[in-house]
């Protein structure tokens, strides 16, 4: 094997004009015989896949019906299952006459998303902050009830998309402050505190999430004094907050490590105390740097909420699975595949949306917002 050439190579041909349409085609699709082959194969695959998908999802699909008998053919999707059960998927077992409460919360959530997607000039900051504070408080009052003459609805009745969103938002909101504290602890100069935080973080990160959730749901009652009781839904929330705070802590640690040492030294030289240094100088920069990774963790949390169905909660996937096994809809596997396609689409819309938002944040990370 020779690593250096001992004679000049033949000159390369002049570059192809890339400005024209044909030039663009040649560069992107037909630059060599191998690429041409790949292009042809992929075009054929694309054609075959899209025609069969359109046939399956639209042309041969069954849109309405109320039992599995409505969908006898496996060559078409069974959207009848979704149109028949969509209320269950969106509201869970929430009382029918109180659907308006859930609707208001959904509307508030949509407004919050809008406040982050678009810029409203000077009002932007106030709008965002007020939405973020209003949403959890109004959400709690409206969904659980018990105040202002609203009837109490036990959290066990939450289900479907509602439960998925509630679990995801509570674990995200809970894990951010906890994770920040753990990250500060882990990067602390105090050896004991840093060791304790490190072991805490690594323990949660080393164990499967489902094991942690089962542990909290089954074993927490043994670890609290006799007489006090923690609701099973709350136990699951604690479990989610526990392991997600460990993941968030690593995100924030990355952000803290991205701050150059000079910033720490300069704030020390100005005579700032530890908390002032962190609060005024380091954390504002570190948190901004960790926003993209934080958003990715949030996507992970949103997807992870599906595992609550394994301990008997009916989140979106759980309630779809229960409906699929109910006596009306138990049937051939093609109903399953339609139902899972629908569920995948719903999850995809949320996670893909969040990831596109995070890309946008990354692209203007240098701009002060």
């Amino acid at each position: 094997m020779q690593t250096t050439a001992n004679q000049f190579k033949n000159p390369e041909p002049a570059p192809f004009k890339s400005g024209s349409f044909w030039g663009w085609l040649k560069i992107n699709l037909f630059s060599s015989w191998f690429n041409t082959l790949i292009t042809i194969c992929l075009l054929y695959l694309l054609y075959a896949f899209s025609t069969s998908f359109i046939n399956w999802a639209f042309i041969n699909a069954v849109w309405f019906g109320d039992t599995a008998k409505a969908c006898p053919n496996s060559n078409g999707a069974c959207w009848a299952f979704v149109t028949d059960r969509w209320r269950l998927f969106v509201y869970g077992l929430y009382p029918k006459e109180d659907y308006w409460r859930v609707n208001i919360v959904y509307a508030l959530a949509a407004l919050t998303i809008i406040s982050f997607l678009f810029s409203f000039g000077r009002l932007k900051k106030i709008f965002r902050i007020s939405m973020v504070t209003i949403l959890p408080i109004a959400g709690y009052i409206l969904l659980v009830g018990g105040y202002f003459g609203l009837e109490y609805v036990a959290p066990e009745n939450f289900g479907g998309l509602l439960l998925t969103l509630v679990i995801a938002s509570i674990s995200i909101l809970g894990s951010i402050p906890l994770g920040l504290m753990l990250a500060l602890g882990r990067t602390s100069n105090l050896a004991v505190i840093s060791k304790v935080c490190t072991y805490f973080i690594e323990f949660w990160r080393g164990v499967p999430h489902i094991v942690i959730i089962v542990m909290f749901v089954a074993l927490l009652p043994i670890f609290i004094p006799d007489g006090s009781k923690i609701d099973v839904v709350v136990r699951a929330f604690i479990a989610f907050a526990a392991f997600n705070s460990a993941y968030m802590a690593e995100v924030f640690r990355g952000g803290l490590q991205s701050i150059p040492n000079g910033q720490f030294e300069a704030s020390r030289a100005l005579g700032l105390s530890y908390w002032k240094m962190m609060g005024y100088i380091i954390l504002p920069q570190a948190i901004r740097n960790s926003i993209p990774a934080m958003v990715n963790t949030c996507i992970g949390i949103f997807k992870e909420t599906t595992i609550v169905m394994l301990i008997g909660f009916s989140d979106l996937l759980g309630i779809i699975q229960i409906s699929l096994e109910s006596s009306d809809w138990v049937g051939p596997p093609h109903i399953f595949s339609s139902a899972y396609t629908f569920a995948a689409l719903v999850y995809f819309i949320f996670t893909f949306g969040i990831s596109k938002y995070s890309e946008r944040l990354e692209n203007r990370s240098n701009v002060d917002s």
Binding site: T3, V207, I299, Y347
Partner: protein, 387 residues
Amino acid sequence: MRNAFSFWRKESVRSLTYQWAVVVALIYGLYWIYDTATTNMARLGLKTGFDFLTDEAGFPISPALIDYSPKSTYAEAMIVTLLNTITLSGIAIVFATLLGFFIALSKLSPNLLLRKFGNCYVEIFRNVPLLLQLFFWYFAALKMLPGKRASINFFDVAFLNIEGFFVPLPVLQEGGDIVVLSLLVGLCVSIVIWIWARFRQRNTGQPFPAFSVGIGLVILVPFFTAWVLDFPIGWEIPKFGRFNFNGGTSLEPEFTAMLFGLTLYNAAFIGEIIRAGILSVDKGQKEAAMSIGFSQMQAYSQVIVPQALRFIIPPITNQYLNLAKSTALAAAIGYADFFWAMDGAIAPQTGQVMELQAITLAGYLGISLFIAMLMAIYNQFSKIPER
């Protein structure tokens, strides 16, 4: 400024106080938890201790890689299922890495369609929950396979149907172990040659085609021994008997669904990691390599990949750990993994949840530490020596 509290202004005094406060609070907290737990357990009349490990398990496990029957003990059941978890993670890691590599290549390809294709793959598989994907493979895709009598036939050698994937099994006849031994010897020798070639190239700059020599050794040595011994390895091919397939071995649908789900899901992440690693190497490195006469292949294998590995290994380790942990979801579709045995089979029978939880945590932490250790060793190996 000297007063009664001036000792408090000393940094060392404060830091020691804080740390002792944490230690005391931690010990008290742990003691409190231990105390409440023991009183509660005494009140509930829960059995404690690890004596149950030697009791008879009484439930079947399939697949079992080592000898196991319902008459075996709980401890043996745990080992069998732990082996299942490790096998599943190991195979899925290999497949996901290979597929991820191809996805990274397709996303870096000059072909626009191929790039878009890679992009679609990553976005779809990354953004849908793993549990949903597992359900899709197990309850929808694999259930659509034909029944036993209408099996999909692969050249009369392997058969795919709703009950699993039936594949041939190699059987060692007399002298077969010598062939296996020669394969191992070939493997060891080629690893030694590879290490020696690395050292020689590092010290003298002389390259040695260790890869092709190694491949040759691994293939030719066992082949030659087998030829001398008149091919003592036979294949046991599955045959459809009266009611079922006999001979060979089968991959259960549970295992197949897990393997598909884990591989496709994690390949999307691994593909992105590898792509980011390759892109992290400065463009000038490739240009420089090409300008001193390296071929495209050489530029990648000698210049770009060694540098990219430094960026790839930490996140890919993380992804491997995630994969190993997510095998616990196998319990949802009934594959006999470690968590399924602990939570679904042994816990209801014995009721000793505390001990079982401790063993579960220890088992998974052990797997995580093992993977982290292997990757740390590999990382040491692939480090670029800095002068």
